[in-house]
Subunit: 425 residues, 2 copies
Amino acid sequence: MDDITRLTASELLTLYRNRQIAPSDVVAALLARIGARDPVVRAWQHIDGDHALAQAAALIPGPDSPLYGVPIGFKDIVDTADLPTTYGSPIYASHRPVKDAVCVSLSRAAGGIVLGKTVTTEFAGRNPGKTAHPLDPARTPGGSSSGSAAAVADGQVFLAIGSQTAGSTIRPAAYCGVYALKPSHGAISFSGMKHLSPRLDAIGLMGRSIADLALFRAALLGVSPVPYVPVSGPLCVGLCRTPYWSRASADVQAAIEQAATRLAASGIEIRQVTYPDAFGDAEELCWEVINFEAARELAWEYAQREHSLSPWARAAIENGRGISLDRHANNLQRLATAEQAFDTLFATVDVLIAPAAGEEAPMGLADTGSPIFNLAFQIAGLPAVSLPFRSGSAGLPIGLQLIGSRYRDRQLLDIAATIEQRLVS
Amino acid sequence: MDDITRLTASELLTLYRNRQIAPSDVVAALLARIGARDPVVRAWQHIDGDHALAQAAALIPGPDSPLYGVPIGFKDIVDTADLPTTYGSPIYASHRPVKDAVCVSLSRAAGGIVLGKTVTTEFAGRNPGKTAHPLDPARTPGGSSSGSAAAVADGQVFLAIGSQTAGSTIRPAAYCGVYALKPSHGAISFSGMKHLSPRLDAIGLMGRSIADLALFRAALLGVSPVPYVPVSGPLCVGLCRTPYWSRASADVQAAIEQAATRLAASGIEIRQVTYPDAFGDAEELCWEVINFEAARELAWEYAQREHSLSPWARAAIENGRGISLDRHANNLQRLATAEQAFDTLFATVDVLIAPAAGEEAPMGLADTGSPIFNLAFQIAGLPAVSLPFRSGSAGLPIGLQLIGSRYRDRQLLDIAATIEQRLVS
């Protein structure tokens, strides 16, 4: 057998069905991998090997267990009753919730194994955690779902939960070369996860193939997985360079253009798409909404534990406290305008393609990189996928971002599978 | 001094500022009132008098304490670190969260006193709690925010937090004769409250005047309160009978028509408003979304504690599990259509008026009444106010529902104050 830590979750499930391996062996293999790699990658905030092995031993297989025996990492903003939950903040160093988040309950119900808690930036904001990029530890893995992306990329876990308020799932997935789905806003429960900005926060799913994302999504919606269906009819793809194209590296620009060229050569219609801008500047809007809401979500931490907040968190809260209610009301209306503008755009294209991040993973661990290529799609509540596409001149992954029509997450995965097939063939 | 338990929060604050009374005296008066009335009204799930008195004694007054010394009740779906939180379910009989919900933190930061936890229906759904109507204990106080409405109405607390997924704040407020604000969807944080249907759940505010609601709202947004400004220019009010007009009692119909007549006589333009229906049947849509989401939110409870769920909860979850992902995606799109349809409608009117509930509080405690007159506005995410208006033939309160333009909650309160003035003058 090949290195089982490199399998997709779907391949792992096939081995289980054929009784070629047992869940405890898989957990043991991951724990060995983590033991060897954690000093470098530092993807885990908390891991309890005995607890994971106990879950593996106690599993009851069944046809209704779509994640039977699949070890999963949960970003450490996700409440877990069996493991500490720090929210990436020293304020919560000894925090132990009494209930599992909904995504944890649904993962367990689907047969998944809670392997551990992955490193998050402080409150899923900008202040980085300890995780390094698995392919080059001098570089950031991206954030805020830093540990989830790094662990999946490095063969330390099969699936992982992240979250995205601006670009916190799609960007680290692109940097680390893993597959990710940020669902439509509100399409998969965020309950039991620490909010930074409820209006924008969404759960994020990471895995090693589109099929894995479809599987994981089904489990988190409590339904039986349905194999994805490559699209057979004509497809129209909108190439969306966004107003920030000049902020993408030459490598990223070339990769996206090349993807469009290859798709066109395969018979897919490519349309140059102008970015709707009725909602104004996405970057300004996104940060104002986040800061306004973070000031309320973190009011207790600011009032009672200010000195344990990073300068980043303090600055965000103070900025948010300075935004007037009238301005915030206007910003909420701008978000509604963005939703409608993109809903209209999707009458003319099936999917948008854009950079998942503007560059390969940047050097240094002090900053997790820029979400600029995610913001507009995020504020419009659209589902997005990061597809590992090729490498740049630093030899690191570049991700192709696919953005779907709101609430058509399943269609987006089907299109992503089709596009991936066309790109590699 | 008159009975202090009957003051508005705003009046109470004036007494504090003039040093005519101390917070401990107020808490003591409320505890006495509760002691006398609780055997009949049963509004409280948990109350800890010593804890409330300790908070009163420890208060540090200051100009930044807009709720200084104001006792508040919190619906028992709101997490409190100092008090048990049952979510209205025997499953959580001994549940004690480790963190306060955001609304609790912000209330405390504003100087408010957590008086106790008010009775909720099971998970803020349909299965009633033990609370009776304060004016007629043979009748329901409405739900799901049953205890909050009853306690505010009965002089047991000044302000209370509720929640609304279908009509759970506006309806009990109307039945009990208290003032309520259901903010625009997402305008005030729901974090740390138990979700039933995240796409529709909103926090609810209850008090004894429009000024109290404005004060409470400011505290929950972490800003200093600004006195409301009665509208001086011309106002256009849309009289919205809704497609369910025939389900309102003759008394309610007459009350709403009379309100329109009086407002017209005061110089306000009244326009008959046709209900937008591009989104289809609001009742069917609302329950499908709630049931689909409740099946996910309560997945753990259903899988692990099914026999401790009420037949209502089980039926809702089972119905929700039967709704396909495609149908749910379509329902989410219908919600977006409803938002847009009402946004368009508000280009022609400043506010809508409609019944807050279809009847006076119904007889019996087995059912909390129908939210039919709240559903369409709720699915469109609109802010709504219930204004106690007059009594019906049973001698019980009737509420006038005012519905505002999305995200213009402040404007809605200003208009509500103006309308109330015109109705009583």
